[in-house]
């Protein structure tokens, strides 16, 4: 084994793979019959999805009153889930686009899965703006289409209209990005598979890809362009989501820090989710040699860094509120920390600022079980962050007369569970039908890595190639 080359990071891929081996390894999960774990996972996910579908159907049939929202707290679980899922999605784009621009080769092992996660998370997120409105069947009115009302257009000043454009753009660009990245792998599948429906689908979707160098050249340019566009996009989307709150007059929402704060939080939660999924996938799909300890370590460090940013945002928010001398602002933050929702606030702080501190220790970062548990806790914490921002700001605002509590109903909880069901259903199907690792990219990155290694340590490399 050639990991310990002096002066070099350990290799990206363990086990001295040949190109053919990579193809076989990555395609193995989609070519063999799925195991019991997959079926069990799918069953659980589908059950959750079914429960969520039932909850949403009931809510749409009966009314939004089946949620716990009320006159003062008009948004709660629905928008919390929306922001949570959008945030989850951001890590995928970050890994695939930002790290691509930064030439972080290690991303190739995880970017396909992370992008898929983005796609599914945005799907989950996109459900909430639709179902949380009082008349979902009229949600299409948010789109500015020609009509017989004058025509009456939409209010482009509303952050919700911005959201509509931002989230749709985000979904379309993410899906495109994902699909473009998938084309060479679809071609690989097309050429490997036995004749059948799946092969025909792969053939149809691979667009006649033949690996021509001319196409590769253009392809790489477009991929770079997409990465270049997706990077500001990912920041803009969460910035706009944060403006849903920041442009409002409500104390606790009306804060200029929200955009960077939300973006950092989104990356933070997304990274944690990627870690969670990655750790499961590498075991279940037997990809330990592709998703190595090094990947986990790097990701954990990123989580640590973003946790610091989020923690700083919490402090800044508090400081600004106190320093402003605005009694309403001051109260909102004291109320968060000590009011009826203090438990949610301290869950958030504990999970998002306290728990990730453990990642300072290398031993923690390399203990996969611990990393798994901590990443889950970060996700819990980030869900609560959105809950705290939305609910605690609304439940006690300016006029004490309209202060109110909020208790979620079983419908809301089931809807949240349902989106997890949707997410994991999509994810499991993705693992089953699409290469979870970008084969072509991994090959390219591995070869480059190997060539660099050879240049630096020819002896070792000779040995390795042999």
């Amino acid at each position: 084994m050639a990991e310990a080359v002096p002066g070099l990071a350990p290799p990206l891929i363990d086990g001295n793979k040949t190109l053919g081996r990579i193809t076989r390894d990555v395609c193995a999960p989609i070519e063999r019959r799925p195991g019991a774990a997959w079926w069990a996972g799918l069953a659980v996910s589908l059950a959750a999805l079914a429960a969520g579908t039932a909850a949403v159907s009931y809510q749409i049939a009966v009314g939004i009153g089946t949620w716990g929202v009320n006159n003062s707290v008009g948004w709660a679980f629905g928008i919390t889930n929306f922001v949570f899922w959008i945030g989850i999605g951001h890590a995928g784009t970050l890994i695939s686009a930002v790290l691509f621009l930064l030439r972080q080769r290690w991303r190739t092992s995880v970017n396909r899965a992370a992008e898929a996660m983005t796609l599914f998370a945005v799907m989950c997120a996109g459900i909430f703006p639709l179902i949380h409105v009082g008349r979902p069947w009229l949600a299409y009115w948010l789109a500015p289409y020609p009509n017989f009302r004058g025509p009456l257009w939409v209010n482009f000043r509303s952050p919700l209209a911005w959201d509509f454009f931002a989230v749709s753009t985000y979904f379309i660009i993410s899906a495109t990005f994902w699909y473009v990245g998938l084309i060479p792998d679809l071609a690989t599948m097309r050429d490997r598979m036995r004749k059948g429906v799946r092969q025909r689908i792969a053939a149809f979707l691979s667009l006649g890809w033949d690996g021509s160098a001319r196409t590769w050249q253009r392809y790489e340019l477009v991929y770079l362009l997409l990465a270049g566009l997706a990077t500001p996009l990912v920041f803009s989307v969460h910035t706009i989501v944060s403006w849903d709150f920041a442009t409002a007059v409500i104390p606790g929402w009306h804060a200029t820090i929200f955009a960077p704060y939300f973006v950092a939080g989104a990356i933070f939660s997304g990274m944690a989710m990627v870690l969670t999924l990655m750790l499961v996938a590498r075991v279940v799909l037997q990809l330990q040699e592709y998703i190595t300890i090094r990947h986990v370590d790097v990701m954990a460090k990123l989580v640590l860094a973003t946790s610091g940013m989020v923690g700083l945002a919490y402090l800044t928010e508090f400081f600004t509120a106190m320093y402003s001398g605005n009694p309403y602002e001051e109260f909102v933050f004291l109320n968060r920390a000590m009011g009826p929702f203090a438990w949610a606030y301290w869950t958030m702080v504990g999970c998002n600022v306290g728990v990730p501190l453990l990642f300072w220790f290398r031993r923690v970062r390399q203990n996969l079980w611990l990393v798994f548990v901590l990443s889950l806790l970060v996700n819990v914490g980030m869900w609560f962050e959105r809950f705290v921002i939305i609910v605690t700001s609304l439940h006690r605002d300016f006029l004490p007369s309209s202060w109110s509590g909020y208790t979620p109903t079983i419908i809301e909880v089931t809807t949240l569970i349902g989106t997890f069901g949707l997410f994991f259903t999509c994810y499991l199907l993705f693992c089953r039908f699409v290469p979870v690792i970008a084969i072509a990219e991994v090959k390219g990155a591995m070869m480059e890595d190997r060539h660099e290694r050879e240049a630096l340590a020819p002896a070792h490399a000779e040995e390795a190639v042999a």
């Binding site: 089946t66 929202v69 000043r157 919700l160 509590g405």
Partner: protein
């Protein structure tokens, strides 16, 4: 020129407006039975019929009149003047009817008693008219029957009683209708032993009895609060429920308005619980009921001596003695010594004839507790052969009232089922007040007319006609009323040929003045002449826990408990809906380890109840207060009320009714039904029963543990001291007016035409809730039930925020009507993605229901939290109840946001009317529903672009401020600061002398 009020349909030709006869119509209106079907055609009704055809449009039918009556324009509303039948106060109403159905109750602005104010009960009477539960036909022995049959059956029984010489009683509340008094007298005259017994669920029998003792006349004085510089109320909630609150509120507000010019009144309230009047008082003292009686006695002693005393009694006496002839002392205690003490004070100060009048008394209370107690004794002993019960429910609201069921012939004349009608042998349902002719004499010499506004919805019959039929001389109610008016009401010089003119004018205005009465010589007896027992200082049972029973402004004695709108009107003080409860002071509650919602067992010698507790700041710490009027049988209708889904909770309590009946706790005591008791046992029952309250936090300050340093009250309700107001320079008020008038980031949109705005006087508002119900009726706002209110989803567009404030002068209550502020920089508008809420060119924040998709972003971003969302498809009534909807306001579907529109339908109507007239709109021509109903005149609507409008003057005045002005949202609604009277007694005296 003053308003023209339309006459009733029948009297149309007498108005002189049109002489032409329209035979078809008059014939029909006269009630020709062969043309009863005409009713079905009345109204320009559009019936929607879903057609199961391939037609591109759903087939809707349009059904015109067969012959259109003259003077009726389909789609145009007309107002008819009438008198309210909600209680015995006799307020004047203008009822707006459209296409043959009443759709809104308004106050009659020129009425001598109420002057435009209507309380919540009056506003909600419309629902009573259309109530599906009303009796639709008479019934005998539980079986439906017809009027001829029941008349035959009952008259046979009456004949038998006449021959046997049996006793016949007619049990009613106070009857001040001269015609009805005649009718009852005529009916009873045919019996050897007939008696008309009056009793009031909200009894003020002690006031009448005390005047019998002190003045020799059993009369209820008429109070003139507008003339009173000093008011000392010993537990009389005269702004909330006591006798004639709309009338008293008007006078009280008039006297206290700083802009009014006269010296501002000073008011001390001594009470056990927190009442509306107590909340407004300058000085509020919490004492147990028996100590209040003792205090009244002490004050009387000091005032009669002219000096002496100490402590509280002396302080009050000083204030009173500084305003002789310009003060009112009153008590709501059902306690003779306390009432006698009040009379002595008023007499000693020379108030009789000035601020209160016993020579031309009020008729609003005539009931006698003694008489009804005797009636119950007789009934229990089987000494009564027949009992007619009209508009009262003795089985429900009298302790031992079930004795009436022992009467061999119990006849109920109720409008809808109650406990007494359930026990009755015959039910002969009366018309609703809006269906029949009647009259009223709420104050001696001042008369009101009640006229039918709609053809009776069921086969009911006016009580007047029923009595006439049973007296053997059936006559229409109209004839009876006209006869009375011709004989007695009409001033002597107008009787004869002038009568028709007098009658037409009276029908048009709804009221009339009779002959000027010669002031009766009523002399106060001296202390020496009084019974010694009345002159003894009332005993005080120290350290015992006392009970006081009270009434809520909307439910009163329970006769309005059928009405969902009134049940859902938050209690002005506790803000709780759909329940009664035991109010405990915070210390007492802590001692008993009870919190709001915990159930307590409360027992007296007579009865015991298990009620949820409400911790009430400001309440006397030795007194438990429980509201009467709850737990009636009629409230079983609310089982299943509200929107159903799998987690919905019932509106009724565990007993299947709304609240519990506390009437068994009333203490019959020496001829009075005492609503307070000593020696009450109270203990936690160990379970909870949540109350639905529209307000969770009750002060303007945040909780102390959520604040750095002592929490300062938020400047949402602002105060100004009398001194600052009197000071010449405006700087003196120390306010921050204009402090936030910063520059705008962008140019304002011009509003060249009208710019609508409002001014709300927080100082005048008593929190009674009339505006809330007025708004609800006008704007088709659904009633959502206890569960939804408990989830903070009440739908009221206008709510009254109540904040407690406490200082050395006791607990004060600030009532702030809060509704859409129509901000110029409305935060809600910017965030709506679909342009469902935008600004009008006249400054209105418009909400377009049909465009709304229901994101609720606007509600979140509203700093005032005044937007209301249709969480479910709320119920808007069924059957006849749907007729109560205002046809000018869209019924909102589920998933849609709604809020105050400043009654834009009225604005449109007013503008179109002005355009058709070809004249500009006059200030005050358009009145919003809340403004119209407010007895305190605390709400003013108008055009801010017109510098001479009342709203402009008030908004630019010294007291004006805007709520959350610093947000720069620029509300169109100004609030007027509360005036705090910081004058010490001496200064007050001086000011009073000036006045």
């Amino acid at each position: 020129m003053s308003r023209v009020y339309w006459l009733s349909l029948e009297q149309r030709d007498l108005a002189g407006s049109s002489g032409g006869a329209q035979p078809e119509f008059l014939e029909a209106a006269a009630g020709d039975p062969s043309r009863r079907d005409f009713l079905k055609l009345v109204g320009f009704s559009v019936a929607g019929a879903a057609a199961a055809s391939c037609s591109p449009a759903p087939v809707r039918q349009e059904i015109p009149y067969v012959a259109q009556p003259e003077g009726i324009v389909p789609g145009d509303a007309v107002s008819y003047a009438t008198t309210c039948g909600g209680c015995t106060a006799g307020c004047g109403l203008l009822v707006k009817t459209r296409d043959g159905r009443p759709i809104k109750v308004e106050g009659c602005p020129d009425h001598p008693i109420s002057a435009g104010g209507v309380c919540s009960v009056g506003q909600a009477a419309l629902l009573g008219l259309y109530d599906n539960l009303r009796f639709r036909s008479p019934s005998l022995g539980g079986a439906q029957t017809s009027w001829p049959e029941i008349d035959t059956a009952l008259m046979a029984r009456f004949d038998a009683i006449r021959q046997a010489g049996g006793a016949v009683r007619v049990l009613t509340p106070t009857v001040h209708s001269p015609t009805l008094r005649r009718g009852i007298a005529a009916f009873l005259a045919s019996f050897g032993d007939g008696e008309h017994v009056e009793y009031d669920a909200l009894s003020a029998s002690a006031v009448l009895d005390a005047h019998e003792a002190t003045h020799g006349v059993r009369a209820f004085p008429r109070y003139f609060f507008d003339r009173a510089e000093v008011v000392v109320s010993f537990d009389a909630d005269f702004l909330g429920t006591w006798v004639s609150p709309a009338e008293y509120t008007r006078g009280y507000a008039l006297r206290r308005r700083p802009e009014g010019g006269s010296a501002r009144g000073w008011h001390a309230q001594i009470e056990s619980r927190v009442s509306l009047a107590g909340g407004k008082a300058d000085r509020r003292i919490a004492l147990p009921p028996d100590e209040i009686a003792a205090l009244a006695f002490d004050v009387a002693a000091i005032v009669e001596q002219g000096s002496g005393g100490s402590g509280l009694a002396s302080e009050l006496a000083q204030r009173l003695m500084a305003a002789p002839g310009r003060s009112i002392v009153l008590s709501g205690l059902q306690d003779l010594p306390a009432q006698v003490a009040c009379n002595r004070i008023n007499a000693a100060l020379g108030n009789y004839g000035r601020t209160l009048d016993i020579a031309q008394p009020s008729n609003q209370r005539r009931g006698s507790d003694r008489a009804v107690a005797r009636l119950l004794d007789d009934a229990a002993a089987g000494r009564i052969a027949a009992l007619l019960v009209w508009h009262t429910n003795p089985v429900f609201d009298l302790p031992g009232g079930s004795a009436v069921s022992k009467v061999p012939l119990l006849v109920s004349l109720a409008e809808r089922p109650d406990e007494t009608s359930a026990a009755a042998h015959a039910v002969c349902p009366d018309h609703h007040a809006f269906e029949s002719w009647a009259d009223a004499e709420p104050v001696a010499g001042s008369y009101g007319l009640t006229q039918p506004l709609v053809r009776p919805l069921g086969d009911t019959r006016a009580f007047l006609e029923t009595l006439a039929a049973w007296s053997g001389a059936p006559r229409p109610a109209l004839d009876q009323v006209r006869e009375t008016w011709r004989d007695t009401v009409c001033p002597v010089d107008h009787r004869g040929s002038d009568f028709e003119q007098f009658w037409a004018e009276s029908v048009q205005t709804g009221y009339a003045a009779g002959d000027a009465l010669a002031p009766a010589e009523v002399r106060a007896r001296s202390a020496a002449e009084l019974d010694a027992a009345l002159m003894a200082r009332p005993a005080v049972s120290a350290d015992a826990i006392r009970l006081t029973l009270y009434h809520k402004p909307a439910i009163l004695g329970g006769e309005h408990a059928y009405n969902p709108m009134l049940q859902e009107l938050p209690d002005p003080i506790s803000k709780v809906v759909w329940d009664n409860y035991a109010c405990l002071g915070p210390t007492l509650a802590a001692r008993l380890q009870l919190a709001t919602g915990g159930v307590a067992r409360i027992g007296t010698a007579a009865a015991s109840l298990e009620l949820p507790v409400l911790v009430q700041p400001g309440q006397d710490e030795q007194t438990v207060a429980i509201a009467l009027g709850y737990g009636g049988q009629i409230t079983e209708r609310f089982q299943g009320f509200g929107h159903h889904w799998f987690r919905s909770r019932p509106t009724v309590g565990p007993n299947g009714r709304v609240g519990l009946n506390a009437a068994p706790l009333i203490v019959p005591d020496r001829g009075l039904l005492r609503r307070h008791a000593a020696d009450v046992q109270i203990a936690a029952a160990g379970r909870t029963q949540p109350l639905a309250c529209t307000q969770e936090h009750h002060t303007l300050s945040v909780p102390a543990n959520l604040s750095f340093g002592p929490p300062a009250p938020r400047p949402i309700v602002q105060e100004i001291s009398t001194a600052a107001l009197a000071a010449a320079a405006p700087e003196a008020d120390g306010g921050e007016a204009g402090a936030h008038a910063g520059g705008d980031l962008w140019a304002a949109h011009p509003m060249p035409g009208h710019r609508w705005g409002m001014a709300v006087d927080v100082d005048a508002c008593t929190g009674c809730g009339a505006c809330v119900v007025g708004c609800q009726v006008e704007n088709n706002i659904p009633v959502v039930g206890k569960d939804e209110v408990g989830r903070n989803r009440e739908m009221h567009w206008l709510r009254i925020d109540r904040y407690y404030m406490e200082d050395e002068s006791g607990l004060h209550v600030a009532n702030q009507p809060m509704f859409c502020q129509h901000c110029e920089h409305a935060p809600c508008e910017t965030v709506c993605p679909v342009l469902a809420t935008v600004h009008s060119s006249e400054g209105l924040n418009q909400q377009i229901y049909n465009r709304c998709v229901g994101t609720r972003y606007c509600a979140n971003n509203c700093p005032y939290k005044v937007r209301r969302f249709n969480w479910f498809a709320y119920d808007h009534g069924e059957g006849t109840e749907q007729l109560a909807s205002n046809p000018d306001v869209t019924i909102r579907s589920r998933g849609v946001m709604e809020k105050c529109t400043m009654c834009v339908q009225r604005i449109q109507e007013g503008k179109i009317a002005a355009k058709r007239r070809g004249e500009p709109l006059r200030d005050g021509e358009i009145q919003t529903a809340c403004q119209q109903s407010c007895p305190a005149h605390a709400i003013v609507f108008g055009d801010l672009n017109d510098p001479s409008s009342e709203v402009s003057r008030l908004s630019g005045g010294r007291r004006a401020y805007k709520v959350l002005e610093e947000l720069q949202v620029k509300p169109a609604v100004s609030y007027l600061k509360i005036v705090r009277d910081a004058r010490p007694a001496a200064t007050a005296t001086e000011i009073a002398h000036h006045g």
